[in-house]
Amino acid sequence: MSVSIIVDNVVKKFEDTTVIDKLSLQIKPGELFTLLGPSGCGKTTLLRMIIGFNSIDGGSIRIADKEVNHIPVSKRNMGMVFQNYAIFPHMSVKDNIAFGLKNRKLGKEEMEKRINDILRVVHIEKYKDRMPDKLSGGQQQRVALARAIVIHPEVLLMDEPLSNLDAKLRVEMRNAIRSIQQQVGITTVYVTHDQEEALAISDRIAVMNGGVIQQIGTPKSIYERPANIFVSKFIGTSNVMKATLKVENGEKYIQLSDTYQEKMANLKDQAKPGGTVLVSVRPQEFMINEEKVGLKGKVIRSMFLGINTHYFIELEQGEEVEVIQDADAVELIPEGATVYLKVKPTKINVFSSEDETTLIKVGGINESK
């Protein structure tokens, strides 16, 4: 039932500027695939190429192995949920949902059944006869979703669907979208600039920047093993520091300060000794210790958040880093105190200082299997 989407070397030009140049990716049947990136990275452009609002200026897009390049939007059988929902203001909830069905010669009973089923799935049976201006943002969102999937599209496309909702509703709706998507089992392409949303909702994520895919992978692999500095900074928080690569007795080390180095067992062969590398450490990958080993620094500010505590620490060599300590740690460290930081060598990531790509063996542009 579910279909795959293959994007093969597609090109998009707006007048003379090429915004997407030979981009390829494959979306598996039934998965929720997210295009993630900052605004202007081309993720919405790519989505609109898949549905057909944007023309394809090179390469091809294939749905279930059938090229769709020249099929008009109205014949592509794809459902789309828009950023501002695009609920027709002159139609009731029911009429909005029925709108796509009316164009497909369905029997009256079949139509009623489909509408009632979908109303139940998205939990808006109560609002069936309401006009859109009497609905909250979350309810409009549910109508938009229902309207898109009731036509049984081959593919569901969602363009920043949660960006107009408040924080609490956003979490609620992303859970709802995920569970409805799983229930229906439809191949879904989801566009967002919110990395937390992407991590929470996706089977796999493609991180994009400047029209180019930076990395494709599961939320876990992208978070833990970012392919380059951009991904490491865009997903979650990363402290990036300079360090020197050393080899002693055939073992590789990264030297973070004059007195502190860590053995790295998972560096690629191309990592050559003597050179400068960039080390990316997430706040929870630092360990504050009292044995006076590691990077020396001074606490300049602390933030107690209940579940954990954030410290902002100025290192001796000048950088400021953010460190997170779990709540079960003994007691708060006072501001102004001198601390020593060690990193978790199995967790941290090391990047080449030349092209900013990862020097860790697993990971990279192609996802880990």
Binding site: M80, N84, F88, P89, F99, N103, R147, A148
Partner: protein, 553 residues
């Protein structure tokens, strides 16, 4: 909020003052119209004689039918022109669309009777086009007068309003609605009927009703080009003018009938506006696309042709104003500045300065009162400001000719003898234009958060100082823009001025009208050109001030 409890603070005082002005210049004249229409002046008894006189003779009641015929025809025709124009301009890339937009606005702001006069020059009995066609085909075409002439002029004058409204609605129509329908399997034409048209129907109705009100109250056009095809405003004017010192009662009765008609229209418009409206705001408006082939050619041809027709009157009057005439009536075919010499040096130049002088005084009063009234009714709500709010709406339903007559009734005798003065002209402008300024100022105040005023007061400023130093400066840009648009309509006002003017208070519009009636086409063209140029300069000033190439209508 202690200040509000004092009975005679600045707000209460100004509320009462404005109320007095309204009572004197709106309620009192209207009351007199009502009274004269049903009271026999001889016996002082209540009578239906005047009202029934209208319905008894076909000569009279046919005018109401005529008015409705031309109004319905002109409204429909302006829709037929305005709707596709708006759609094409939003959808298709038209070369020179910015210029076209401005030309449409110019044709919208110019007085309709100039259009009538210009079309007489083209398609009238001795019109250029008429003679050309008759010579070419040997026909006996007698010029476009009566029903056809009125409808032609008023449709061309009114479609810009439809265009501006629909264009605004299309701009607010989010393209993702269109895209959503497309993704649900709807073709281009299906989307047009299922999405776009239903969504702009409220705007279509609202703009059509506005056109309807404007057209039915228009006096100059049917007067000039109607030639015996009489509408209500023409009947009111001729009855009132021919029965000087005689029977006011019948003229008053006509006014009452006319007010009832416009009142009904006004109420319908209100209901339509409140009942059918969708709050839309476009995240992504419809985009203009380059179209190829015959569609492109047809779109361009339609747009250019329509805009040419709309702007033709301005071109004709400006062109003819430079033509030499014999005795002011027959064009000799040579160019000259004689017409301008005539009106600037030979004739009474006061008419030009009168227009500017009285217009500016009126605008100042309109702005001061408008800002004050809107502030009072929005921020200082109480029973009296509510009355103020309601009374300030009255002029919407008083056609110009009715206002003129009611002023004559009210201000010819003691205790208020104002007829023939500058004041009566100025006040007629003020009352005619005020509701529009109040409405736009109210919208502007609605956008200013009350917390700004509270901040000023919490910092120690008095309420009056807060009004002067915070509210007024914030409102000014919007109000000034509105004032310029008011100014443009004030200087082209004819229907009340023609009744109220005397030789000392004659305006440009009145001069154009009287010169046309006398057949002095050369002078009329020169006056019209001055008026047109003033309007265009004012419009450019408006663009400069708002930084936009749009007018809100």
């Amino acid at each position: 909020m202690k200040a509000n409890k004092k009975p005679f603070n600045i707000w209460n005082t100004s509320t009462l003052l404005i109320l007095c002005i309204f009572l004197l210049f709106i309620a009192f004249p209207l009351f007199l119209v009502l009274k004269k229409s049903v009271i026999d002046p001889g016996t002082g008894q209540f009578t239906f004689e005047y009202l029934s006189k209208f319905f008894e003779r076909k000569f009279y009641w046919i005018t109401i039918l005529n008015s409705f015929k031309v109004t319905v025809a002109a409204t429909l025709l302006s829709m037929v022109i305005g709707l596709p124009l708006a759609y094409m301009m939003r959808k298709v890339k038209i070369k020179g669309s910015k210029v076209i937009e401005i030309l449409v606005i110019i044709s919208y702001i110019s007085p309709p009777f100039i259009g009538a006069y210009a079309w007489i020059q083209l398609l009238g009995r001795r019109g250029v086009v008429t003679e050309f066609v008759n010579n070419l085909f040997g026909t006996q075409f007698d010029g476009i007068y009566g029903f056809a002439g009125i409808v032609l002029v008023l449709s061309l004058q009114s479609f810009p309003l439809i265009y501006l409204y629909i264009s605004g609605a299309l701009k607010n129509l989010d393209n993702s609605l269109n895209e959503a329908a497309e993704s649900l399997g709807y073709s281009n034409i299906q989307r047009m009927f299922k999405i776009i048209i239903p969504l702009i129907i409220p705007t279509m109705l609202a703009s059509a009703l506005l056109v309807f009100m404007r057209v039915i109250a228009d006096f100059g056009t049917p007067m000039l080009i109607g030639e015996g095809y009489r509408t209500i405003p023409v009947l009111i004017y001729t009855q009132f003018m021919s029965e000087v010192g005689g029977n006011d009662g019948f003229a008053a009765a006509l006014c009452m009938i006319f007010i009832v008609v416009t009142l009904v229209l006004f109420l319908v418009q209100r209901i339509v506006a409140s009942r059918f409206s969708y709050s839309m705001s476009a995240l992504k408006p419809m985009s203009v696309e380059k179209v190829k082939g015959y569609k492109n050619i047809l779109s361009h041809a339609f747009v250019y042709f329509v805009v040419l027709l709309a702007i033709l009157p301005q071109l004709v009057v400006t062109f003819t104003s430079f033509l030499e005439t014999k005795g002011g009536q027959v064009y000799t075919g040579n160019f000259s500045f004689d017409n301008y010499k005539n009106i600037l040096f030979m004739k009474n130049t006061a008419v030009i300065w009168n227009t500017y002088k009285m217009g500016i005084i009126a605008i100042i009063i309109i702005v001061v009162l408008g800002v004050l009234i809107s502030y009072l009714t929005v921020r200082k709500k109480n029973a009296i400001t509510n009355i103020l709010d309601t009374v300030s709406m009255f002029p919407f339903i008083i056609p110009g000719s009715v206002l003129g007559i009611s002023f004559i009734f009210a201000f010819s005798d003691k205790p208020f003898v104002l007829s023939g003065t500058v004041l009566i002209m100025v006040m007629s402008f003020v009352i005619r234009r005020m509701p529009y300024t109040i409405r736009s100022s109210t919208a502007i105040i609605g956008q200013i958060s009350p917390s700004l005023e509270e901040a000023a007061i919490s910092l120690g400023a008095s309420e009056t100082k807060t009004f002067r130093k915070v509210v007024v400066p914030m409102m000014m840009p919007g109000v000034m823009a509105g004032a310029i648009m008011s100014w443009i309509t004030v200087i082209s006002e004819l229907s009340s001025s023609i009744i109220l003017y005397t030789s000392g208070t004659q305006t440009l519009t009145v001069s154009i009208y009287t010169e046309v009636i006398r057949g002095n086409y050369g002078n009329a063209s020169a006056y019209s050109a001055i008026l047109t140029v003033t309007s265009i300069i004012s419009l450019l000033l408006f663009f400069k001030l708002t930084g936009k190439r749009e007018v809100s209508v």
